[in-house]
Amino acid sequence: MTGTTTLAKDFTIKELLATFVSRQVRDGERVAVGAGLHVPRAGILLAHLTRCPNVRLYVVMTFTNLTKEPRMEPFYTVYDYRPAKWAEGYIIHDDFQEDPRIVSDTFVVGGLQIDKFGNSNLIGVGKDYKHLDFRGPGAVGTLSMAHYVDRYYLFVQSHDKRILVDKCDFISTVGWGQGGSDGRKKLGIPGNGPVYCMTPLCIMDFDETTKHMRLKSVHPGVTVQQVVDNTGFALIIPKDVPVTEGPTEEELRTLRERIDIEGMLRK
C-alpha cells in the first residue's frame, strides 16, 4: 500500500479478493503462485509488483522475480512450460518434499467442503468412502504444503451451504482440528493453522479461543444476513462487521494493466 492510497471506486469482487490476498504477502518470503486459482495468483503478483520486490515467486516449478516484467504473460496451469522463460532456477517436483519450506512460506487451500474449524476436504462428499456421492479430485499437495508453510489461507469460489459445512465428510487438510487454540497441538502437529477463509461474500477468521470460524468483513454490497443464510454452520458474528477494504487506485491499475491483462477478474 505504498504510493497512492486513494481507494478505487469501481472494482469487481474478484479484484477485491485479489487485493485482500496481496496484503497477506510479506516481502522477502517465498510464495507459491498457485496457477489454477486466478484470484490468489493475481493477488500474489499484485503484492510482488507493488510492495514486495524481494519475494521469491514459485511459478510452475521455477523460481523467479517479475518486478522488471512490464506485463504478465498469461499462465494458468501448474504444468505450463512457458513461464520457465522467466526462471532463475528450477525445483524438481519431488524436491519440494525434501524441504517443503523451499517452495513457499504461504499457501492457499480450496475445498469441496470446509468446516467451522477450517478443516477442508478435497477427497469427496458422502458418508461411505467406498460409495461416495461425489468423488473429488484428491488432495494434490495441499496437506503437506499447509502443514509446512508459515501460514495458510482457505479460498472458495462460491459461498454456499454445500461447501461451508458443520463437519467435513472427510478431512484432507487439517485446519484447527476439533477446535480450541490448542486444537492442532493436541494432534501433535505444528501450530500454523488457517488464518482466513475468503469467499465471494466475505472474509472470515477464527476466534482466538475456540478457533471457530468468525465473520471478519463483508464485501461491498453484501449483508451479514446474506452470509449467515449461505453458511452451513453457526458463524460467529461480531458486533461490528466492517466492509472489506478494496484496492487503491494504484493497486487496481497495476492489477488491470500489468497482471490481469485478459480481464479474468473482471468477468
Binding site: 489454477g36 501448474v78 512450460y81 517436483h93 477427497i123 473429488g136 484428491g138 484432507s172
Partner: protein, 299 residues
C-alpha cells in the same frame, strides 16, 4: 575386438511387450503435460488389464483414459483432474464413486514418500503432514506410530515399488541418457523407485550431444528408449508443443456423456477412432493430422 556399446532404442511394439497384466506401472508427467502417450495407447490397444498405476503426482487425463479403457485395477495418485478442462477426471470419478477402483489415497508429500521408500529399499518412510486428517482411515496401509527418537506421532508411508516406469522426455541418446526440457516434474522419483524404466522421447540425440551438457541429463541411464515424435499428444511437451485443448475437450465431452448420462457411446467412438483403429503411433498422428500438430507450437 571389444563389441560396440549396445543401443537401447526399441520400437513401440517391442517396448509394449515389457508391459503385462497385473504389473505395477508408474507413468510420468504432470496433469496435462509430458505423458508417454504412445505407450499408454499401446497398453489400451493390447487390452492389458489389472494394472496398478502409479501417479503422476499430480495425475491427469492420461490415467483417466486407462480407467475408461478398463486397464486399471488400482491407482496411486494425489489428484485426478484436468485443471480448467475438467475439475475431476470423469471415468475416475464414476469408478471411484462405485468403489470399482482400489485407490491408494495420498497427497503429493506422501506420494513421494512411497516412491522414495521403494528407491531406498526401505519398507516405509515417515511423514508428519496428514496427522489429524482422514488419510490413515481411508488408506489403512498408512500406519501411525511414535517416532523412536522424539516419541511424537508420525505416519509411516509404505513403499510402492513400480515394476516399470514409463516416462516422457524431450531427448535421450541411444544409451538411455535422458534429458528433459524443463524440470521433468517427478519423473526422477519414478525412475529411482522402479525396477526398470522406459523413456519415450521426442528425439533420439547423439551421445556427443548429451556429453555437451551432462548437467541436463535428468535420468542417468534408463533401460529402453522409444522414439515417438509428438508422443505426448494430446498433452503438452515442454520445449516442443502445448497441449491440444480441442482434443482434450473432445475427450472430456466423451467422459461427461458417461459420467452424467451413463452413455459410453462417445468414449467407445473415441477409443475406436484414436486408439484401436490406428495400430501405431504414426497412424495415430495421421488421424490427428499434421495441420493440427504443427499448430501446437509452444509460443
Amino acid at each position: 575386438m571389444l563389441p560396440e556399446r549396445k543401443s537401447l532404442v526399441l520400437d513401440e511394439h517391442a517396448a509394449a511387450d515389457w508391459i503385462r497384466d497385473g504389473m505395477t506401472i508408474a507413468i510420468g508427467g504432470f496433469i496435462n503435460s509430458s505423458h508417454p502417450m504412445a505407450l499408454v495407447r499401446q497398453i489400451i490397444r493390447r487390452g492389458i488389464k489389472n494394472l496398478t498405476v502409479v501417479g503422476a503426482a499430480s495425475g491427469g487425463l492420461d490415467l483417466d483414459l486407462l480407467i475408461a479403457a478398463g486397464c486399471v485395477k488400482r491407482l496411486v495418485t494425489t489428484y485426478m483432474g484436468g485443471e480448467h478442462y475438467c475439475p475431476v477426471a470423469p471415468f475416475f470419478r464414476i469408478a471411484a464413486q462405485r468403489g470399482e477402483l482400489d485407490i491408494f489415497e495420498c497427497d503429493e508429500g506422501m506420494f513421494y514418500c512411497a516412491l522414495r521408500a521403494a528407491a531406498q529399499r526401505l519398507p516405509s518412510t515417515p511423514w508428519k503432514a496428514g496427522i489429524g486428517t482422514s488419510f490413515p482411515e481411508i488408506n489403512p496401509e498408512i500406519k501411525q506410530y511414535n517416532d523412536p527418537v522424539s516419541g511424537e506421532p508420525m505416519l509411516a508411508i509404505p513403499a510402492i515399488k513400480p515394476d516399470l516406469a514409463i516416462i516422457y522426455a524431450a531427448h535421450s541418446d541411444a544409451f538411455g541418457n535422458v534429458q528433459h526440457v524443463g524440470t521433468g516434474f517427478g519423473d526422477r522419483a519414478m525412475w529411482r523407485a522402479a525396477d526398470k524404466t522406459i523413456a519415450q522421447v521426442e528425439r533420439v540425440i547423439p551421445n556427443e550431444e548429451v556429453r555437451k551438457n551432462p548437467l541436463a541429463t535428468s535420468l542417468v541411464g534408463v533401460d529402453a528408449v522409444v522414439r515417438a515424435p509428438y508422443g505426448s499428444h494430446p498433452f503438452a511437451a515442454p520445449g516442443y508443443y502445448i497441449e491440444d485443448g480441442e482434443h482434450i475437450r473432445e475427450y472430456v465431452d466423451a467422459g461427461n456423456a458417461y459420467a452424467k448420462k451413463g452413455d459410453r457411446g462417445p468414449i467407445e467412438a473415441y477409443l475406436e477412432k484414436y486408439i484401436l483403429k490406428p495400430k501405431t503411433h504414426e497412424e495415430y498422428l495421421e488421424t490427428i493430422g499434421i495441420r493440427r500438430l504443427v499448430a501446437l507450437h509452444e509460443y
